[in-house]
Amino acid sequence: MVERKVGWEPQGSHALIGGEIQRVDGKVKASGQAKYTNDINPPGTLFAKLLTAPHAHAKLVLLNIDKAKAVKGVKSVIVMAKLGDEIRYEGWPIVAIAAERPEFAEDGLRAIEFKFESLPHFVDGLDLKGAVEADLAADGKPLKLTKSLGKSEQGDVEVALKEAKHVHEGFYGVQTITHMSMEPHGSHAAWDGDHLNVALSTENVSGTSGQYVQPVGVEAMNVNVRCDFLGSGFGSKSTVDVWDVACAKLSKVTGKPVRLMLSRTTEMQIAGNRPSAFAEVTVGCDAEGNVTAWDSRHWGSNGLEGSIVGLDVTPYVFRPKNRKSIATGIATNCSPERPWRAPHHPQACAYTQTALDDLAAKAGIDSLQFFTKNLNLTSLPHIYEPELEIAAKLMDWKGKWHPRGKGAGNGPVKRGIGVALHTWNGAANQSNVTLKIHSDGSVEVVTGSQDVGTGTRTCIAQVAADTFGVSMSAVKVSLGSNQFPKAGASEGSSTIGGVTGPVRRTTQQALWKILDLVAIRHTVDGTTLAARDGKVWSGDKEICTWKQAASLIGPMGLELYGGPVTDDEGLTNHQVGGVQMAEVAVDTETGVIRIVKMVAVQDAGMIVNRLLARSQVYSGLIMGIAYSLCEERIMDNKTGRFINANLNDYKLPRIGDIGDLVVEFYEPESEYKRGVIGLSEPPVISTGAAISNAVANAIGVRVPVLPLTPKRVLDALKGAKG
């Protein structure tokens, strides 16, 4: 008898799920046939461009668009900021122009008369002292750069620090970075009577139509949002932005389709960033290296709002009994943050686990032993411990470990290793699907979800094909439209669980209906039937082909609607743990760091597609290497501008900077049984701390702030020499 219960098969029993399956859309993407929003440009489309403010803080005192309207080819000009408006960061949109050709739009921008009156700015999220002084100097005036974001306290930190055998005090931090999606934000809007058809670069297809209602003046039922392919978003593309509204308005006014994609510079300036975070930390442990106390004050800036990494993730993962954290936000004249892959975790990890590593060094304990010893302070010791063992083998930790700064060799290039670990929730989002099985046996899955580049289409097809025992090519997946069943935004690693859960449940339910028809037709016990290899079987006996089975449902086919996955179904779960180890080579004469090797051991519950899952971890490591070594938004204090908002000066790693990446999944039966858990965010979290710890191990000195540029490495080395 084949048990009819919604759920996954035992580990190792699935034909396709868990396998290494190539992306179903790999070819169309690689060959350029896949149309991203940025590619949509049907004949008659007008090109829109923005005039943005080149000031961090200013008042708009003159704005005249009359001449711009008269420019050849310009079809419409929309004012996005009013005279007298306070411009609060660079890149603030002022005017949008739609024209027949991009260069006409540029001509139009040049014809705008405008003037700004400069106001004082503050852009340095690191400069807490300066912010406090500015607040004091502003006495009574509305300037309020710093704000207390609370305090969290448990146990008695003062006593614990007094009693600690080893105490370490240090300063740590991470600078702001931008999302740097391959495809910038933007949209293509076209009206058909009252209907607005938008191609939007979004990771929230189902959730964006309503956002057009109020600003554009359209009924939600008349908004059609599409996003077939997305050139990533990393958390920054869940909203309809002012420039998208401008695009829709320009289209309405002109009666023509309009395309407005942000330029790379504007994209970097205003379309999202990951906030900076800095911390002064005091940590203590006993003689054996058990961490007994954590005391920190952290600050940073997420732009205007002046918020910062939360107390909930401070200290990160390791939660000593006695702990105290104080958070201070700094409001800066910088554009607002947007969720960046594992929001706030990488920063918290970087200032927590570097401080702990420094304490380990002070106590004279091998970092790995120290981290392992303190796993009782984490919520997932049963995951971290075996993961650390696996990682240590893959890294050859024992063979490579040396006390800080005591590596072999007299040359200027020093090698070192480091470790860090992380956690992430990754619970499923609320997604619905429609499943159609046609009488020829072909299968369609339709959902309003989106593929942000992670392989959603492939995983859906894989689950459906696996359940029905058919090939991947028998399944068609449609997504990326708000006309499809509502699905959650692709945020927080929630998509994989969100879509595979309902697809599995619904395909199983459909399969049972079909097997019941087969049982009647072939006079066999339906509960003995199973589908695999394109056939229906009773035990080892072939009953009929899948096509014959499907034909029994009749010409109308079978259509089922699947609602969001629920916690009690056993299909999905949440909270994963992962560990990472880094090996670096640091040139102490130039400060240049090369990544030799990274090892990532990751738990993600049940792995749906091993190839794509590994891809996710690679991408996490690569983004982690980027923010560890080079990626940084540089705000110039003098002009208040994002001075490196271009791809010449905003440094990103290339393939040669990446080193050897080793990825292993921790998937014992206990984890497999938990079901599907999101994987996108976790592997980017502990990379920074692991690399920073490896650098400290190599050169014997902590380079406190990420990214670890040659300047920071050499400054740290020089500081240590005195």
Partner: protein, 341 residues
């Protein structure tokens, strides 16, 4: 990018004619790797672009009596393929450092020499000197990539040419073509008269006091047509660039050396540092000190100390002193094959 007129001369004389028309703002297009960026950012808005790529003589690499003459449009990729240039290792090192196949394939040696500074204040529209209301932004703002030598005046940017340090160490001359003058040399080409002058590369660059001066001696209507390198015999050369990243990136600092080592002792040396000053920075003191000495880790290190002894870092770029010191030491050792990887 503003609209512009595009012209494609086929001779030097035609180019001079297109470039020299009164009242026309012209820009010279070679590989386009810099000009395109400048025009897109509207830092250059020429009304006419003169594309030199149809002038055959600018692609030639020829042996002359006492050296090699290289056309300004020879690309980085072609440079390393030319057997006549086998002896000029320091140039190969430069090409190696340009990690983009696209830039190697389209970038030209002449274009590189004329590359405008990458100073982010300049590139963000504050002029060559990066000034706002008369205040030097590099002096008071973020100067982590700016000059540590020759920065006493208004110019704080660093010369962006990748080849200039190496070429200068070789004692290169550049041929500048422009309208014929009464005093200068005159050459006839396609029935038109043009002026051409060979100038040592070290006189080609200037440290401007005002934005309008530019960073080379090239006047409107003039362009670099060829470079000349002396014979490579007896000379060992090397360039050492300190690159933060393995991909396409500007060096944080670089050093290029030409050495004549006889019987284990340095007979002659030329050391030029790059990306540390508004012009390629020659260190004669270090070169002089090396003469008559054996070259090894210790002497290379000492020479490097001398090379940076007069550095005057700005508020945020002291680390560059250490970086260029390393570049000098390593270029010296690399030239004699003693740099351990």
């Amino acid at each position: 990018m503003k609209p512009f007129e595009y012209t494609r001369p086929t001779t030097e004389a035609e180019a001079v004619e297109f470039l020299g028309e009164t009242g026309v703002q012209t820009a010279i297009l070679a590989g386009g790797t810099d000009l395109t960026s400048l025009m897109r950012a509207e830092l250059a808005s020429p009304s006419r672009v003169v594309d030199l790529k149809q002038i055959p003589s600018l692609y030639q690499v020829t042996r002359s009596e006492d050296g090699i003459q290289i056309g300004a449009l020879v690309t980085l990729a072609d440079l390393v393929k030319n057997p006549l240039l086998d002896g000029y290792r320091s140039l190969f090192d430069v090409v190696d450092g340009v990690r983009s196949i696209q830039v190697q394939g389209s970038g030209t040696i002449g274009g590189d020499l004329c590359h405008l500074p990458n100073c982010w204040y300049f590139r963000n529209g504050y002029g060559l000197l990066g000034q706002e209301n008369g205040v030097s932004l590099p002096e008071t703002g973020d100067n982590r990539y700016h000059a540590i030598f020759g920065n006493e005046g208004a110019a704080k940017f660093v010369n962006a040419s990748r080849f200039a340090p190496a070429l200068m160490a070789w004692g290169t001359k550049v041929r500048i073509v422009g309208p014929a003058t009464k005093t200068g040399s005159r050459e006839r080409s396609s029935g038109l008269t043009v002026g051409a002058e060979w100038i040592p590369l070290e006189y080609f660059y200037v440290t401007p006091k005002t934005d309008r001066q530019g960073n080379t001696i090239l006047k409107p209507g003039h362009f670099v047509s060829h470079i000349w390198l002396p014979d490579a015999n007896q000379i060992s050369s090397a360039t050492y660039e300190v690159l933060q990243m393995e991909g396409l990136d500007w060096p944080l600092a670089t050093a290029s050396v030409c050495l004549n080592v006889e019987a284990g002792l340095v007979h002659d040396a030329s050391i030029v540092m790059g990306h540390v000053a508004p012009i390629p920075w020659v260190t004669e003191d270090a070169s002089r000190w090396l003469i008559g000495r054996p070259l090894n880790e210790e002497t290379a290190s000492f020479a490097a100390d001398i090379a940076v002894s007069s550095a005057r870092p700005l508020s945020m770029n002291e680390y560059k002193v250490q970086i260029v010191r390393t570049a000098v030491k390593r270029a010296l050792l690399k030239a004699i094959g003693q740099l351990n990887p």
